[in-house]
Amino acid sequence: MTDVIAAEWIKIRSLRSTFWTLGLTTLFVVGAAVVAARADYSNFPQYDHVQQAGHGFALSDAFPPVGFMAVMLVATGAGAVTVVSEYGSGLIRTTTVAVPARGSVLLAKAIVVALLWTVAGAVMSTLSFVVSQAILAGRHADVSITDPGAGAALLAATLVGPVCALVGLALGVLIRHSVTTMVTGVVLLLLVPSMFTTRRPWSAAVNHAMVWSAWQRLTRTYGPPDGVGSLYASFTGSWLVYALWPLAALVLATVVIRWRDV
């Protein structure tokens, strides 16, 4: 198994696009955090005392939704492309003759993609956090990583990359077509949550089962959970969403890849 994992690592690292993608995404995320933090820095004098003292915006500046929406998009696409490009070019046939145990190929791809995006996600999130808090420190409105919720937020911001990359990989196996895979990924991960309001219980249940909603809850997009009500999913539920989406998608992909002709 380690040989197949090493082979998938050679494949991913031998493409220039891998590192361009990660580099540009990191720049974009950190840039978004700088913009968000600078906006709160300059608006700070107009905030009321409660806002100034609580600075609930500090975590959301570290993990700005616009930046991490981009991470989710790119990670989904990058996960998908590791397999969709093989189906598109036909390279998957050469791969399958070399490793007839198809489940092993999928598992190896999943491990490589997950590790790569965990490392990249950790770099992106840590940089975003450090840079944004350095800016907010000028108003004494920064948070430390030991403050309540900050550690979980950093972890959730890091892991959203591998979660989406794995879902993208599984969708790529199921759909095998690049544009359709990408559209499906965007709809499932980013659009569905906005179609389901959290004001009605059944609709909230769907909303809270989505990766985007889990990310928002864990990184506290709308500030600390006490004042937000049913807008947020539960803390444990959000981590479950992080675990179950890639797991379910990969189980389905494993069944399909074994049964279908290459």
Partner: protein, 241 residues
């Protein structure tokens, strides 16, 4: 040894291969001939475990190819030279394949040398001509030093020097006792390279015999092929007046 026993493969309503049986023996270059749509590529896919037949079985060295965890030491295949990622170098493409099967990295340099691509090992495949991609595909098939080799249209796009090289390579692989199975539409080339022939049309077996025997009866392989396949050609141009 490749054994195909009564395989049938349908795609929707179309039957690509219809109760096909034949054996490809070691120590020979066996040509696999048939008009477009005869089911050659489908048969090769079933043999390599890529497609599941609706009926029948296919084995490579006595076992279904899919039962292997790793394949390159058991069979090497070139199915379509274009099926590569243009963004990778020749060396990276082969290194990933070698690594997946636990083959030593030195095999990559060996096979690149053998097919004459050593100088362009660090070049991206996207810039290769079709002939160079065919050589790369042959290199990939040779990586695991397998007893069975399968090539689908390996000389399309090759220059005369390349065609000559392939002919000698296939013969020497057969002389080493390997099973070499080569599909092609190029009659002249098959007549020069293959000593055994399997001819199919519309998914059915039309002939399986020594090349000399088939050619001897008809005068030339082209003539023999046209006679055999006259009733199983799907697409035919109108005669010009």
């Amino acid at each position: 040894m490749i054994e195909v026993n009564g395989i049938t493969k349908r795609y929707g309503r179309k039957t690509a291969v219809d109760n096909l049986s034949f054996t490809v023996r070691p120590g020979h270059v066996t040509g696999f001939l048939g008009p477009n749509g005869a089911g050659k590529t489908t048969t090769l896919r079933v043999v390599l475990g890529l497609d599941r037949p609706d009926a029948g079985t296919a084995t490579v060295s006595g076992v279904p190819f899919r039962s292997h965890r790793r394949g390159l030491r058991h069979a090497g295949a070139l199915l379509d030279a274009q099926q590569v990622h243009g963004g990778r170098t020749a060396a990276a493409h082969l290194a990933a394949l070698a690594r997946s099967n636990g083959l030593p990295a030195r095999r990559v340099a060996d096979v690149l040398e053998e097919v004459g691509l050593a100088e362009v090992a660090r070049h991206r495949i996207g810039g290769f001509s079709l002939g160079m991609k065919q050589r790369l595909g042959i290199a990939a098939a040779l990586l695991g030093d397998p007893p069975v080799l399968i090539f689908d249209e390996p000389i399309n796009g090759m220059d005369p020097e390349g065609v000559f090289w392939v002919r000698r390579l296939f013969r020497s692989l057969a002389e080493e006792g390997r099973t070499v199975f080569v599909s092609s539409h190029l009659m002249g080339e098959m007549a020069n390279t293959a000593d055994q022939l399997v001819v199919v049309g519309l998914g059915r077996l039309l002939a399986a015999e020594p090349a000399a025997q088939l050619i001897g009866r008809a005068g030339s392989l082209e003539e023999a092929f046209l006679r055999l396949t006259s009733s199983s050609v799907e697409y035919r141009a109108e005669e010009r007046r």
